[in-house]
């Protein structure tokens, strides 16, 4: 079966090795089967991505170059929307600063708070399930109309928070109505609904094999060392996940500011988050073309931020599969 004189000539490269043509063909067949299998797994996603996501995304990209007013027909205006955004729209810049402030404060707050509580609750405290459920309840209220009622009750001029402060002799006006503090109440709302992040951390903690801890204990490590050498590394995929998503969500945050300000960004535009501004431009001012441009700028910014986080993950995220 071996052909001597032309063997080397007929050898093929496959995966860096020299193999016979038959083996090469077999590998190629195998790979095609693997690819087909993979794409089989991916079929639902591929249909979804084209029909439901990419199509509308491309449509919105097109619209961002038009003056679409939602009800009429769009007509091309080139880069005018983008030019206007950066040169003639102070509210746009203001919304960026509001959103960045919000993200810089709320994202770390949510992550740290969730992680601490997850670690705390993971210690096998009794009634863990009950506590966990109770901590999760605030995030269940979601976008309900009830939230705006509730937040006014707590942070309004005559609200409960001020009642408590009065006990300590501190007097303050409305937290929600004052432009200097309104964003703080929205950040508080975001942190208040931290339940989801905490649950994910808990799930991640649960997935760390007990054997790792036992091995560490046998080594005579203390609790802090165990955290730093066992818990934290194993948790890095989840921290990465939560971190990326919390950051992205905070830039895209819409509902808390919308609900509390009645969709307007008031008081004095202090709650004018980027997406609230986008919504106003699109659905109240009927400037859907401009709103589409705003959305794509946000997308680009988030892509850069997410890209940076992804790139950095190489240096600090440890995947169990690479053991």
């Amino acid at each position: 079966m071996t052909r001597t004189s032309t063997l080397e000539g007929r050898m093929r490269r496959a995966g860096g090795l020299l193999v016979t043509p038959e083996r090469a063909a077999a590998i190629k067949r195998r790979r095609r089967r693997d690819n087909l299998s993979a794409f089989g797994f991916l079929t639902p996603w591929m249909i979804g991505i084209i029909v439901i996501v990419l199509g509308p995304m491309l449509a919105s990209l097109y619209l961002s170059f038009t003056n679409y007013d939602l009800i009429g027909t769009p007509s091309w205006i080139g880069l005018d929307n983008y030019k206007r955004m950066f040169t003639a729209d102070s509210r746009f810049l203001h919304s960026v600063s509001v959103t960045v402030t919000y993200a810089l404060v709320s994202a770390p707050a949510i992550l740290v708070f969730s992680l601490l509580l997850a670690l705390f609750l993971n210690k096998g405290i009794r009634f863990l399930a009950v506590y966990r459920s109770l901590f999760y309840i605030p995030s269940l209220l979601g976008a309900s109309v009830a939230i705006s009622v509730l937040w006014l009750q707590v942070f309004g001029g005559d609200g409960m928070f001020n009642d408590v402060l009065r006990l300590f002799g501190i007097k303050h006006g409305s937290w929600v109505g004052d432009p200097n503090t309104a964003l703080g109440t929205v950040i508080t709302l975001a942190v208040w609904t931290f339940g989801a992040t905490m649950v994910i951390f808990l799930a991640g903690l649960r997935q760390i094999p007990e054997s790792y801890y036992e091995a560490a204990r046998l080594d005579g490590t203390n609790a802090w060392q165990r955290f730093w050498h066992v818990t934290f590394p194993s948790l890095t995929p989840v921290i990465f996940f939560n971190g990326l998503l919390v950051v992205v969500h905070s830039f895209e945050s819409f509902t808390p500011a919308y609900v509390i300000s009645g969709g307007t960004g008031q008081p004095a535009d202090s709650l004018l988050m980027y997406t609230v501004y986008l919504y106003q431009r699109g659905f109240v001012d009927y400037q859907m073309g401009y709103a589409s441009a705003l959305a794509w700028i946000l997308l680009l910014a988030l892509a850069i931020i997410a890209g940076l986080i992804f790139w950095s993950s190489r240096y600090w995220v440890y995947y169990g599969e690479d053991s």
């Binding site: 693997d34 299998s37 993979a38 797994f41 639902p44 996603w45 979804g48 991505i49 029909v51 439901i52 996501v53 199509g55 509308p56 919105s60 705390f120 405290i125 009794r126 009634f127 399930a129 459920s133 109770l134 309840i137 605030p138 269940l140 209220l141 979601g142 976008a143 309900s144 109309v145 009830a146 509730l150 707590v154 409960m160 994910i200 799930a203 991640g204 649960r206 997935q207 094999p209 007990e210 046998l218 080594d219 005579g220 066992v230 995929p237 989840v238 992205v248 895209e252 997406t275 709103a291 959305a295 794509w296 946000l298 997308l299 988030l302 997410a306 440890y318 169990g320 599969e321 053991s323």
Partner: protein, 297 residues
């Protein structure tokens, strides 16, 4: 980064197990106390809301919680079907939509997550970047084109625009979640199964899925809650009041131009959290199953 290399110990570790000392018990109590304190602060708005839902003229007086006049009238008002409002029906609709969304996401996102986490195929990195990209686009902008598409295929006023996309893995959040969790699982099990003759599907079904308990529970829970709380989707796509969902029903209680019924709003808002908590508790069991052993031995 290897962390668990076993070194020879320098001195013998403790051989006699400790008896729970007073310090231990105090520590446990302290932990409970701290937790409860934090909980009370965090939940006070909700406690207020539940309390107010049992009061007549819910927002008028400044009542001290758990004291004073109580009434069930708000609940009765809220649940009694009128010609245009039928909360019992809304609960059923919300439940149906949410359950279908959970099913769709579980099927589609686990399949997709497995492919990205474990399989190799051309353009994998590009496609994954695409998955992440969809996470970044704000929904307000694809809203109108999507509406036009669904209009064209005649899906308006049905549950389909709300549910069908879930079966097509449009929820990049959960794809990403599952990819991260699957990547956290050691590959040794895969290889063992492959040696046993399993193909990709077999590995998926027999090895990966059973170990994904916490991730699946998380996906199911969040999908349910997001679907339950979604207001914009149902408002846009459902025009028949008999198909309305709970958030739409809640919004009908408060209207700036007519008369509002705050009592019913608070009552129904309280009730609407109940299924979510129920679902959450049910999913807890899966969530608490960690990987007891690595399963390698």
């Amino acid at each position: 980064m290897t962390t668990t290399a076993v070194r020879p110990t320098q001195r013998p570790s403790r051989l006699i197990p400790r008896r729970p000392t007073k310090n231990r018990i105090l520590a446990a109590w302290a932990r409970h106390a701290v937790t409860i304190a934090i909980l009370v602060i965090m939940l006070y708005p909700i406690i207020w809301m539940v309390d107010a839902s049992f009061r007549p003229n819910a927002l008028i007086g400044g009542n001290v919680p758990f004291t004073g006049p109580f009434t069930l009238q708000n609940y009765i008002d809220g649940l009694t079907p009128t010609s245009t409002l039928n909360f019992g029906l809304y609960f059923v609709n919300s439940f149906a939509i949410a359950a279908l969304c959970v099913l769709g996401n579980l099927i589609a996102c686990t399949l997709t997550g497995f492919a990205f986490a474990r399989l190799e195929f051309p353009f994998k990195r590009v496609l994954f970047a695409l998955v992440m990209g969809t996470l970044l686009l704000p929904y307000q902008v694809t809203l109108v084109p999507q509406y036009i598409i669904f209009n064209k295929i005649g899906w308006l006023n049905t549950f389909l625009p709300l549910v069908a996309p879930k079966f097509l893995a449009v929820d990049a959040f959960f794809i990403f979640l599952l990819v991260q969790f699957i990547r956290g699982l050691p590959r040794d099990l895969d290889e063992a199964a492959r040696l046993d003759g399993c193909g990709n599907w077999g590995i998926f079904r027999r090895v990966i899925l059973p170990l994904l308990g916490p991730a699946i529970a998380t996906t199911a829970m969040f999908t349910f809650i997001n679907a339950w709380n979604d207001f914009l989707g149902p408002t846009l796509y459902l025009s028949d009041p008999s198909k309305y969902t709970v958030p739409q029903g809640l919004a009908m209680f408060v209207d700036s131009t007519g008369q509002s019924s705050y009592g019913s709003l608070l009552a129904m808002a309280t009730l609407s959290i109940a299924p979510l908590i129920g679902f959450f508790l049910a999913a807890q069991r899966l969530l608490t199953q960690g990987i007891a052993t690595t399963g390698i031995k």
